[in-house]
Symmetry: C5
Subunit: 321 residues, 5 copies
Amino acid sequence: MNERKKAPGDELRQAGRVERFHLGLDSLGPGEKRHLHELMVDHGPGNGKIMLLPIDQGLEHGPSDFIVNPPAGDLEFQLSLAEEAGFSGVACHIGLAERYFRKYAGRVPLVLKLNGKTAILPEDRPFAPLDAGVEEAVRLGADAVGYTLYVGSPLEAEDIAQFSRVRQEARRFGLPIIMWAYPRGPFVESRGGGRDSLAMVDYAARLANELGATLCKINLPRPPKGKGYDAQSPFKDYNAYLDISEIDALRMVIRSAGRTGVLVSGGSRLTDQELLDKTRLCLEAGVDGLIFGRNIWQRKYEDALRLSREIRAMMQKFTAA
Amino acid sequence: MNERKKAPGDELRQAGRVERFHLGLDSLGPGEKRHLHELMVDHGPGNGKIMLLPIDQGLEHGPSDFIVNPPAGDLEFQLSLAEEAGFSGVACHIGLAERYFRKYAGRVPLVLKLNGKTAILPEDRPFAPLDAGVEEAVRLGADAVGYTLYVGSPLEAEDIAQFSRVRQEARRFGLPIIMWAYPRGPFVESRGGGRDSLAMVDYAARLANELGATLCKINLPRPPKGKGYDAQSPFKDYNAYLDISEIDALRMVIRSAGRTGVLVSGGSRLTDQELLDKTRLCLEAGVDGLIFGRNIWQRKYEDALRLSREIRAMMQKFTAA
Amino acid sequence: MNERKKAPGDELRQAGRVERFHLGLDSLGPGEKRHLHELMVDHGPGNGKIMLLPIDQGLEHGPSDFIVNPPAGDLEFQLSLAEEAGFSGVACHIGLAERYFRKYAGRVPLVLKLNGKTAILPEDRPFAPLDAGVEEAVRLGADAVGYTLYVGSPLEAEDIAQFSRVRQEARRFGLPIIMWAYPRGPFVESRGGGRDSLAMVDYAARLANELGATLCKINLPRPPKGKGYDAQSPFKDYNAYLDISEIDALRMVIRSAGRTGVLVSGGSRLTDQELLDKTRLCLEAGVDGLIFGRNIWQRKYEDALRLSREIRAMMQKFTAA
Amino acid sequence: MNERKKAPGDELRQAGRVERFHLGLDSLGPGEKRHLHELMVDHGPGNGKIMLLPIDQGLEHGPSDFIVNPPAGDLEFQLSLAEEAGFSGVACHIGLAERYFRKYAGRVPLVLKLNGKTAILPEDRPFAPLDAGVEEAVRLGADAVGYTLYVGSPLEAEDIAQFSRVRQEARRFGLPIIMWAYPRGPFVESRGGGRDSLAMVDYAARLANELGATLCKINLPRPPKGKGYDAQSPFKDYNAYLDISEIDALRMVIRSAGRTGVLVSGGSRLTDQELLDKTRLCLEAGVDGLIFGRNIWQRKYEDALRLSREIRAMMQKFTAA
Amino acid sequence: MNERKKAPGDELRQAGRVERFHLGLDSLGPGEKRHLHELMVDHGPGNGKIMLLPIDQGLEHGPSDFIVNPPAGDLEFQLSLAEEAGFSGVACHIGLAERYFRKYAGRVPLVLKLNGKTAILPEDRPFAPLDAGVEEAVRLGADAVGYTLYVGSPLEAEDIAQFSRVRQEARRFGLPIIMWAYPRGPFVESRGGGRDSLAMVDYAARLANELGATLCKINLPRPPKGKGYDAQSPFKDYNAYLDISEIDALRMVIRSAGRTGVLVSGGSRLTDQELLDKTRLCLEAGVDGLIFGRNIWQRKYEDALRLSREIRAMMQKFTAA
C-alpha cells in the first residue's frame, strides 16, 4: 500500500507492475483517475486489478441471502472483511453506506450503488429505480457509483435514459461509474438466447462501452444454447461460436467492452476451488477485476477472509509479464 | 419530562436508562438526532422507546373507521389523548396537521405523513402519491415525516424513486423519515407468501434499511403459510422457519432492519389484554417502539387513556437491565 | 354589504350574526381569511354562508347544457345574475374568466376553476388535467381556486399528486382552495356503492379534509343501496345506516369534512320548490354553503334572479340562534 | 394596407369598417391586440376578417398531398401566394418557418404551428406532441401560434395539460393562440356522433372558449346523423336539431365559441364554386375568418391566386352594414 | 484541404466548385454554417458533399456486426480509416467518443449520436432514448449531433417531443442536427407499405424537413409493393408511382426534404460494385451525401480504405457542371 500518490496508468506501466489495463485510463478525466487510483492501487491487489465486495443483495434478493450466514446481514461483516483481506472496496446502497461507512472511511473505498429493486416482482419488466443520487455519493466520499441496467428489458428505454442522466452527473463530479450490465427480461430469453448467453453478455459489454460506463460488471458468458439462433435472428452470427471455450467467450466479451473495464461477478454459491478456478480463468482472459459477493460473505468470517486472501494473491500474480 | 436538553444515545446509555438502541443514532446527523430526542426522550416513555399515535386511517380506510367511536374523527381526540397519556407524537396528513396542530405545537410532536391513498381501488397496483412536501413538514414544526412504501407492488419502482426524493429532501432538512414498510400487491400474495408472512415483513424491514429510512413501521410477521415456498421460490430458505415462534420471527425482522429503528403497528382491533401482550412481546423482541392507532382511538376516550398509560408504563420498564 | 373590513370568524361570532362556522377559520392564514371574507361577508348572504354560482359545465358537459336556455352560454348571464342576486361569487375556467370578468372585477368574486375535462370519454379512468395555474388566479384577482378530484378513480394517485401541487401553490399565495370532491369511476360503482352513496360521499369529504382543501363541494349523500355492502367490503360498517335520513346522512358527511367547509351542489334540474327544500335541508344540516349551477342558470334570467334571491334570503335566516 | 398603426377594435368599429368582431378584442392584452392587428388589419382582407393559408399538411398527411401539385411542396409557393393574394398570414411548422420565412418577414405574417403528428398511426389515441416552443415563435417574429387539440381523444387529459402550458407561455409573450379544435378518436365516433357532427364541433368550439384560445379553427358542423343520440347520451339534447340548416348549425357553434374567434377550415378538395359558396355561408354565419389550405394550394399557382383574390374580395364585403 | 476559412454556400457557388446545395445553407445560423464547413469543405470530398462513417451499430445491432471483421469493433479502425480516406466525419455514441476521439480531435470531425437502443426488443414500439446531451457534444468538440426518430412508431409522439427538445438545444449551441429518419413499427408495415417503401421514406424526409433537421439520413426508397395501397389509404396517391424508377423515387424524396439535406445510408452488405453503383445513383439524384457504415467497416482495413477512396473520388466529380 506504499504506492500512494502514484496515478494508475503510465506510471504503473512504466514500473512494469501492471500487465495491461483493459480500461482506457488515458481517456478519463483527472477526477475519475484519482478515484480509480483508490480502487486499483491504494486498495485491493494494488497492481491495477480491482477486487470488489458487493453487498446489495439485501435489496435485490432480500434478507434470505443472509440465512446461511446471519452475521453477514450486518455491513460490519463486509467492511471489516474488506479491510482485513484487502479488497478494493465495498459496494452497497445508501441506507447501509450512511449508517456503517463512517467508521471505515478512508480505509475501505465505497462504491455507492444508486439503483435497485426487490425480487418480489416477476422479471417481465425489470427496471431498477434510483434510490440515491450522485451528489450523495460525493457527500459520502464514495470512489465510484454503481448502476444496474437491464439490457433488453421492455423498460430498456427508461433505463438507458436514467443511466444517461446518472452518467452525466457522475462525469460532472469526476466519479467513475460501474454498470451492472445485466441482460434480463422476456425478450432476452425468447430472442436473445438467455441472460448468460454469449450473445447477450457480449451485447451488455458493448452497451456499457457505447453508453460510457467506466467499468461494467458482467456474468461469465455461456456459448449459445442448443442448435443456436435461427436464420432470422439478429444474433445468428453467434452460431459460429457454438463450441467456443469459456475463456475465449470471455475474451470476446472483454473485446466488446472496448476501453470500459470488465469486472466478472461471482453469481451463486461455488466451492472454494471452483471460485479460485473461476478467478484464474477470468484473470487469464484479461479482466480488470472481480466482484464476488455471496461467494465470499455467505462463508463464515474466517473462511471468507482466507479465501479472499487467496483470490487477492492470485490477482497480484497477474502483473507485468 | 425533565430530561430536556439531553441527547438520545450516549448519554442515555451512560445513564443506564436505556436497554439498547436498535436504531443507529450514532450514524445520524445532528438535525435527525435533535428531532428524535423529542420522540424518544422529551415525549413518550422517555427512555428511548417511541410510542406513536397514528391517525391517517381517515384517508387510508375512510371515515368508516370512526363509526365505532365518532369523536375520534376529530383530531382533537388524538391530540388531547397524546398529550394526556404521554405519547411520543401523533402521525397525520397535512389537512389535519394544518387545522388542528397549532394548539398542541410544542406539547405533542408531529409526524407529518406525506403520502396516502383511499381504499376504494382494489390493491392490484398499490401506490400512495405525495399529498404534502417535506418543506411543509418543516414549516409546521414536525419532528419527522412518514412515508408508505408498498414493497413488491407492480408500481414498486415508482415508489422507490418517490421515496428516494423524499428521503433526500428530509436529509437536507435534518428530519427523520419513518417508512410505513408494507408488502402489498398481487405478487406479494402469489409469490411472497402474503403481506404479513415472515419473508415479506423481513424483506420490508431490510428494504427500509437499504433505502435509508430512519425508522420503519411493520406488522408482526407470521411464519410461512402451509407447507412453505416451493423449490424455485426466491424465498424458499424461509422454509427453515416454518415453526418459528412469534417473538423469534420478530427478532429476525429487527435484525434485518439493521440500524433502522423498528416500530410495530397495532393492526385491527384487539382486546386490552391482547394489546398488552402484543406490546410485551414486541418489547421483549427489542423493538424501538409501537405505533398503535385504531386499537387506541377506536376506544372511548377514558378507556383509550387508561390503556395508553398502561402501555407506556410497560414500555418504561424496558430500560437498562 | 356594509360589513366590509370585518374579518369572518371571531367578529361575526361575537356579533351573533353567525350561527356557526363549520370550516376552521382559525386555522387559516391571513391571505385565505382575507379572501374568504369576500365570499362569506362582503358578498353572498353576508352571514358567513357561501352561495356560489358555478359555470364550468360548458367544459364538463359541453354546450348542450345551454340548449334549454341559450343566453346562459354567455358568462355575462351568470355575472350579471351573480351581482344582481347577491351571490358570493362565480366559478369558471380561465377562458371565460379572462374574457368576461374584468367588467365585474371587485363586484363579483371569482373562483378560478383550474382543471376539467369533456364528457366525450367514458368514465372508466376519470381525471381532470390542469388548464390554468394558481398564479393566473392571483393575476386575475380571484378569491379562490377550484379543483376537481375524482376520488376512487383508477387515476386517483395522479389526481392526489396534482391536487397536492396545486394546494401547495395556493397556500403560497394565500388563496383558498375548493375541492370538487367527486367519487367517480368503475370501482366507486362496483365496490363503493355508487358515486352518491353515503360511504363514497363521506369518504370524499374526509379526503378533502385530510388533503387540506379549504372547502369542498359534494353531492347530497344517499343511504347504501339494496341490502348494503357484503361482509368483506371495506365499507361494510355503513350497513348500520341503511335507513339513515337524508339530513342525518349529510350531517355525517359534514362531520367527516372536519374543519374543511362543505358546499352542496345542486345537481341536475329540480323544480323551484324542490330546490328550496334542498336548500333548507342543507342549511339545517349545517353546511357552509351551496353551489347551484344548472338549477339556477337553466332558468330564464328573471326566474333565476327571483329564485336566487329566495335562496339567499333563506340562507340569511341561518344566522345566530 | 394604409390602416397601419390603427388598432383593431374600437377604431374599426368607429370607422364603420367592421361589421362586428366575434372575438373579444377588448379582453385581450396589448401584445395580443398588436399581433392580431397584423392578421386583421395590416394583412388579409383588412376589415378585421382573417384569411389564413395553412401549410402543415406535409406533416399531418405527408408529402402525398403535394402529388397533385408538386410545386406546393416548397413553402415559396405558399409565401409568394400569400403575399400576392393578400392573405392574413401563413401557418406552418418550425422546419419550414426557419428555412423559408426570413425572405418574407414583415411582408407575410407567420403563424407558427407548435404541435403535430403523422398520419401513419391509426387514430385510436390521437395526440400531437410539441415540435417547437412559444419562445421560438417569438424569436421568428410570428404573430400567433397554432396548437392542435384532439377533443375527446383518450389522451385528452395530456392534450389539455399541454395546451395549458403553451397558452400560459403565449400569454406571457403576448402572442395570440389559435386552437385547431378537432374532435377525434374512437369515443367521438362511438359516443359523440362523429368528428364533424354538430355536437362535437359545438363542443370543440366551447372547449376553445373555456380553455382560453384566442381563435379556434373548426370544421363546418353537420346535423346529427340518422335518428340522433339515444336517451342516455350526454348529447341527446342535440336531437332537437336533426334538421338544422348548415348556416344555423354554424351560428350555434360560433355562439359556443363565445369571445374566442372562429376560423372555418376548408377540408378536402372542392370546386371553385363550392369553395366560394362555403366562404359566403361562413361569412353570413359570422365567422371571423377562413383557413383554407389544400383547397388553395392544390391548385396551380395562377388558379390559386385568382381564387384567393375572389375569396378575399368576398370577405371584404362583409364590413359594416 | 486548403479551402479552410471559406464558408460553404455563396463562396463555393461563386467558385463554381459546387454543383448545387440541396440543403438550405442560407437559412442556417452562423454556428451551424461554421460546423457544416468542417463536414462539407474542410473534410470529406471538399466540394460540399458529405461522406460520413457511422459506427453506432455496436449499440443498435450489438457486437455481432463485428464478427465478420473484429478489428472494426475498436473505434481506432474507423477513426484511422476516416482520416486516411478523407471522410467528412465519424458518427458514434458518447462512450466511444469520450474514449477514442481525443487523439483525432481536429483531424476527423465528430457527429455525436445522441440516442439509441438495442436490437433485443421486438420492433413493436420502437423508441430510442437519449444516452447523451447536446452540451456533451459541445464539450467534446463535435460538429453535429445525430438523432434517430422512428417515424410512425406507436411512440412517435414521445419521439417528436424528445427530438424537439434536442433540436432546440442544438440550435442554442449552433450545432447542426442530423435526423436518422426511419419509418418503423407495426403501422409502417400494416398501413404504410413497409419501412423502405416510397411513401414511408418520402414521409420521413418531409418530417425531417417539417421538424427542422439540418440533414436527414434515409434509406433508398422502393416503389409501393404489390398492387399498391387500397382506396381508403392515406397513401393511395402513391399508387401513381408503382413503376417509378429508383432514381426518380429518390429525387421525389429529396424534393420532400426541402432545404433539409439528404444523406443516403448504405444498409446491409453490398459488393464493391453495387456500392459504387448505389453511390452514383444517389449522386445523380442529387443527394447531399452518403453515410455508409457496415458496407465500409465490415471490410478489411485496406479494402475499406481503397473503396472509400473510390467513393470519395466519385463524389468529388459531382461538382459544378
